[in-house]
Symmetry: C2
Subunit: 355 residues, 2 copies
Amino acid sequence: MGEGDSAEQRPRRRSSRPTQADVARIAGVSQTAVSYILNGKLQTTISDATRQRVLAVIDEIGYVPDLTARSLRSRRTMTIGAIIPDITNPFFPEFVRGIQDVAQTGSYDVITYNTDGQRSLELNAVDAARRGRVDGLIMSTYQLTTADLGPTIAQAIPMVILGEPDDLPLPADAPFDRVYVPGDDGAHAVTGYLAEQGHRRIATIVGSQHLANGVQRVAGYRRALTEHGIAADEGLLRWGDWSESSGYACMNDLLALPSAQRPTAVFAANDLIAVGAMLACKAAGLKIPEDIAIAGYDNVALAHLVMPPLTTLDQHPRQIGNAAARLLLERLTGDFDGSSRTYRAAFDLVIRESA
Amino acid sequence: MGEGDSAEQRPRRRSSRPTQADVARIAGVSQTAVSYILNGKLQTTISDATRQRVLAVIDEIGYVPDLTARSLRSRRTMTIGAIIPDITNPFFPEFVRGIQDVAQTGSYDVITYNTDGQRSLELNAVDAARRGRVDGLIMSTYQLTTADLGPTIAQAIPMVILGEPDDLPLPADAPFDRVYVPGDDGAHAVTGYLAEQGHRRIATIVGSQHLANGVQRVAGYRRALTEHGIAADEGLLRWGDWSESSGYACMNDLLALPSAQRPTAVFAANDLIAVGAMLACKAAGLKIPEDIAIAGYDNVALAHLVMPPLTTLDQHPRQIGNAAARLLLERLTGDFDGSSRTYRAAFDLVIRESA
DNA sequence: TTGAAAGCGCTAACAG
DNA sequence: CTGTTAGCGCTTTCAA
């Protein structure tokens, strides 16, 4: 036993807990035996008497295993990382919850990294995996490139990417899977619905054109128009920034058009934009949906409370999170070891009263 | 060097990365030197030449430190745990984001545990700290008792508790702090405002009476009534379950009262309830706020979009998260080591059009 | 059925 | 200024 223990460490250290060695000593067995009893897989068997004795000691002295030591030895942290732009964006709480619910069934913990779409933070989060903080990654990034993931792939760290296939192309033999809602089809569904209601002048307000999300939605919007024999009018396409205020501004813009060119319906690429657009229309004295129909995208929690309740598209983010975690866990546990898979999530058009 | 490496392990192991030993060997220095260069605190100094050489090797072979090994040795995981009921509940994304933003400045990662208020999951999350997975805890729990935290306190694991002081009493000399929004004062502010608008028959619809949250809000409500010389009418107090549907049901109940007893204003203990109540009033053909005023609590993201926009109370969850993380980090870094502190968060009454 | 022994990769006394 | 040494607590061969 050492002399005085060096309690004067600057960084706080937790008071030391009992270890397997302590249990072993008290129970009069080897430390190995304790480990076996705790993990109990190996072919090795332990007599019932010994097992009982050890278990009793564990209980008595309140031994709990040290996860860090276990991780160092076993090379698994039992933790996964979720890289997202912002948990405050209504899509993500559901998505992350979906991940966590599945992770929990496999005894995995989840570290969430919020990046705000900043490259340095995205890289930093990916690094956590390289440095062995997490065993695998589920990621929704804006700025990362294929090259950025080189080291991660080289280390064979399993990843699940949330996003359209061409967002972040990766070699198919890398240990990664992809999960996405085809934004193209989603936008197609909403716009198609608007056309079926008889609208011919359908505008769209989209977020950033630098995001695959936005681009995909515009593509789906155009495809729906074409299918309904409507010529796309570029004057009816507006780029905002996914915010309510940009929805408001873009809508006002649209309303300033000569009445013959003014839209009778608007497909907003997310619910926030839709709400901004609704407010602009109301401010202009327009009735929704009589004077102008408005549809959104996302089905955020309060979409049904807006007046009139918003017609929108539900991407089922929680189920997407479930799927992502399931795919990742299959690789983590070794249940799957093949090449890249792609999970295309289902969505639902939610028809309410705004369109 | 060993013979063939045992690559046939069942659990997937990431391909092995270079270690400090590799760097040292190639650079021709001791492993210790590499560690010093990387951490560079100690009084020890390294010549610039050596440092450059080592750094070059690190860069060249792509060495990254193994966080698990570092944690085992240093006894710090650089991770904190956030125990919350449900990230899907609108208060928590902001709260957690507030934690993460501060944690990040100190290079801490955050593991979020969703418990749904289930005791077993709450205990499980607390255990993560005991088992050395996280260095400290920020927790919002329903079921935990003082006794449950005994081992955690014995291990001197720093904690920050979100909740009113008598929610989960702990010895003041334990390394914990408390952060809360005085729900009592919040409810008092909202109810007081209603009274100042001239209302005398003010009802309240609250969530579970088993939660300190609910009880506190009722206390504040009563206090405000008293201060305004209004006798509390128990018939105007309804217990729901924090959900929109319970708001709807309770409001219908209230509307069924004989007209002389019917409330002219309602304080809903959260925004979801408020919205449910609004829907019930509208369904009954009542105008808000002319026929009946409704105020909520929380200022959820879309509260201003409801028609009419909801008067409510903002608890500034993100700032509360900031404060919680700040308190915890001070203890984790050793900057603070005194007895329990309490941070009382500020709130703001947000007056819109529903009351 | 059990135990001895060898590290996982790193940090931090301590000695030169 | 640099290196030696000793583990952190655990898992997992391998031998008894």
